[in-house]
């Protein structure tokens, strides 16, 4: 009896999932709640990125196209691809209506009156509509509970809220375009997916790390014959030409590329992103101290890595220097298992995991990686996590490592995933076998200890370090956190690699 009841429930869920407008009300509700929360965050702290975007509004509004990538009125020069500049241009029309000083090139410098703040924050909130759209489009065939879980995890992602709505950036809508692109690919609509990805690259070139994955997948899955290959190639070329064409015409391509790829910056950002290079730097520092103490004459640069400056100084005293080329090589090398897998089995279901994996590799081995780049793989990982308990555990672990102090989000996520993977809801035999091997949603002891250690470390950093060391060793707390988190993320990366290999 129980079996048939479960079967009926399953059937009902499946039927419900087929409706095209499924979950629309929930999406609208969640989106409205998220927007209200963002409204409450409006008066909070904003970083220099706020001024960066305000300046770009002024730049695109006041100057002609051929000056956009040349102008040096402000140190915050335009370093995103042309579509983003066009986006700012469109926004500047509205900015001018709200308050003309915002778009004034010289008078608007460092302008942060209430009108500017509200306008900019409002623009991020509006652009998040794309994020809502992208997520909904991807999730609309999931059962309702999984949909709600996904929306909860993505719309209210603390990382996204903090980066986009406090610190101030426009990641939300970019991730939305990424999710839209992946959703098209998931449905089998490869051409549209590919074009959307090309558009995304012309908004923010940082997303290009997953380009090899897309390329291999589309080549194997879509381009059965020359005609299709040409169609795809032509469309992508068209997109790129639309973006860069005008600058080609003005002969400014070299300048544009210089702006987009500023390799003059150092290996690590001022605040070390927890990636492989953070560990590398830490080991290097330790070795140099050790050798110094042992009497060797070691040339050490002043702590150039933790000031607010980024420079091209000789960063490493003992270990070999890292060049941008080496970093790119490592990224591609680490991505290669994934590329091989896609080449062999270009299946739709595998795509999301591989894209996420690609961004993780880019994060772990990339050059001058920002903390914020972690959003690129954490957010899509949510969508992969709702399908499988293994991935869910990893997602949970990663998101904790990124945002340890957000206890509420963690408990909500835990609850959500645990309910999702509770034993009695699984019916398919294969899944239950999987569960028996991996256990339900419970982290193994090592992970638990790691998280406990992280909590302890955070307490130390915030409260105790100052008491013990006062003003000495100011870089130590940050370094500790970076290194500790990098260990966690390296583990996460290796786990993702194992998922990819298992595909």
């Amino acid at each position: 009896m129980r079996g048939t009841k479960q079967q009926q429930q399953h059937e009902l869920q499946r039927q419900q999932a087929q409706k095209p407008m499924n979950g629309l009300r929930e999406v609208l509700w969640m989106a409205s709640v998220a927007t209200c929360i963002k409204m409450l965050l409006m008066p909070t702290y904003h970083s220099t990125d706020f001024e960066v975007h305000r300046h770009w509004l002024a730049l695109t509004a006041s100057l002609p196209l051929n000056q956009w990538y040349i102008d040096e009125t402000s140190p915050w020069t335009l370093d995103y691809p042309p579509f983003f500049a066009w986006f700012e241009y469109v926004l500047s029309f509205f900015a001018r209506i709200v308050d003309p000083v915002i778009v004034d090139l010289t008078r608007g410098l460092k302008y942060d009156a209430a009108s500017a703040v509200y306008f900019q924050r409002g623009s991020v909130m509006c652009s998040d509509l794309l994020l809502f759209l992208g997520t909904w489009r991807f999730c609309r065939n999931f059962p309702l509970k999984l949909q709600i879980l996904s929306y909860l995890a993505i719309f209210f992602s603390p990382g996204l809220l903090m980066v986009d709505h406090i610190h101030f950036q426009y990641n939300g809508f970019l991730l939305g375009v990424l999710l839209l692109s992946v959703s098209y690919l998931k449905e089998g609509n490869d051409l549209t997916g590919g074009i959307m990805f090309a558009i995304l690259l012309c908004f923010k070139h940082l997303f290009a790390i997953a380009a090899p994955v897309y390329f291999v997948y589309l080549l194997r899955h879509y381009c059965h014959d020359l005609a299709r290959f040409l169609k795809l190639g032509f469309s992508v070329m068209l997109v790129i030409l639309t973006a860069f064409g005008p600058f080609l015409y003005y002969g400014q391509i070299a300048q544009v590329l210089r702006r987009l790829f500023p390799f003059g910056r150092g290996l690590c950002h001022a605040y070390w992103a927890p990636n492989f290079w953070a560990l590398y730097n830490a080991v290097d520092k330790m070795l140099s101290y050790l050798l110094r103490m042992l009497g060797f004459d070691v040339v050490m640069e002043k702590a150039a890595m933790t000031g607010g400056l980024v420079g091209d100084s000789k960063a490493h005293a003992i270990l070999p220097q890292i060049t941008p080329g080496l970093s790119m090589f490592l990224v591609l090398l680490s991505m290669s298992p994934c590329l091989i897998k896609i080449w062999r089995k270009p299946r739709r279901d595998n795509l999301l995991i591989c894209v996420v994996y690609a961004y993780t590799c880019g994060y772990i081995f990339g050059w001058h990686v920002h903390e914020k780049a972690s959003l690129h793989f954490v957010i899509p990982l949510v969508l992969a996590a709702v399908d499988s308990v293994k991935v869910a555990k990893e997602y949970y672990f990663v998101s904790i490592v990124k945002m340890i102090f957000l206890v509420l989000h963690s408990t909500a996520m835990w609850y959500g995933f645990a309910i999702n993977f509770a034993p009695q809801t699984q019916t398919s035999v294969k899944e239950s076998e999987l569960k028996e091997r991996n256990g339900c949603m419970s982290l193994c002891i090592k992970k638990k200890m790691f998280i406990a250690g992280l909590v302890g470390l955070e307490i130390y950093v915030q409260l105790i370090h100052h008491l013990v060391f006062e003003e000495r060793l100011p870089f130590l707390p940050l370094m500790l956190i970076s290194v500790y988190c990098s260990i966690g993320l390296m583990y996460a990366w290796l786990k993702q690699l194992s998922f990819v290999i298992e595909l």
Binding site: W29, C36, I148
Partner: protein
Amino acid sequence: MRWTVLTSDAIIFFPAVFAFSMAFHHQRRFDESAWAFAVILLQPALILIDHGHFQYNCISLGLTLGAVASICLHRDYLASVLFCLALNHKQMSAYYAPAFFAYLFGKSIRKKNPIFEVMKLGVAVIGTFLLCWWPFLHSRTAEAVLLRLAPLQRGIFEDYVANFWCASSLVVKWKQIFPNTVLAYLALFATLVSFLPSVVQQIRSPSHRGFLLSLFNSSLSFYLFSYQVHEKSILLPLIPASLLILEDFSLYRGMILCAMFSMFPLLRRDGLVVPYIATFALHLLLLNVPFLEKSLSHVKERQHPSLKYMSDGLLFTGCLIDLLYLLIEPPPRYPFLFEALNSLLVFICLVLIGLHSHIQQWSATSTHEQIDADKVKMN
């Protein structure tokens, strides 16, 4: 300083709401009581006033809620003590005094030895008052304290509040006709007359549901007719309305709309427009959660249609007025046009809600059974 409000909110208000939820909603399904709990706690009006405008209403409201919870748990002495503490924290809690008096008195005269019961309650009340006022009685500054509590010189109303005196002053210029002391007596008389029906009903047949309605009615009548009422006093009728959310959803919905719209001018002056919009919208979203629709369907179905239409109309008109208020300058002849329109609109709705709630209270089934149950419990 904001941390002190937050802490006192957490220590006093939250547990009180929890206690009330346990006491009154324990027979409900978990979904419903959890939702009601969330709605009571996330009162946008309270959040905006206490944490935005900055006040400490949460303490006296929390103590009052504790008293209400105690009454629902049949602990009348604890209730009296808690309510006296609330009174001594903020004299505005006196808005609830008639209801407490009526219920307790009504219960006492049904017991075996009425005079003894009344005396016991009296001891509790006087004892609490003595405890709180002891330092002032010692140093003989009690008189000064009392004078400060009743600032008659500030006039019968300030600004534009949605009460009777302000609304009717469009027609009858009270301040110009009568001096302040006469107005004070007039207000007292009007308030007495308006809360008398609900008091009488409770004395005649006390019950828990009737008590809550009586709390609402007496605080509403004070708000509408009392001397020198602030916009913030709308919190006082609002809280009992929220306690009744599962019993009468339309009452609460009408009330929260009235409360929020009536506070808009005050919040605009404080520069809290964006938080106002955000918390108001969040609360309306909370009242209409898509995935709780099935669980809450029978609560929503029992809405009174007339009140529902009134609320919908209020929502539309109120938003319109607020929008105009934000965007357009008022004509120079009537610089307070929008405030006046706002308070008039809210006043009319409050009167309608008040009528509805009085009818509700009088039609509440007589609960001799409830009192008999009390007797059984006590024996």
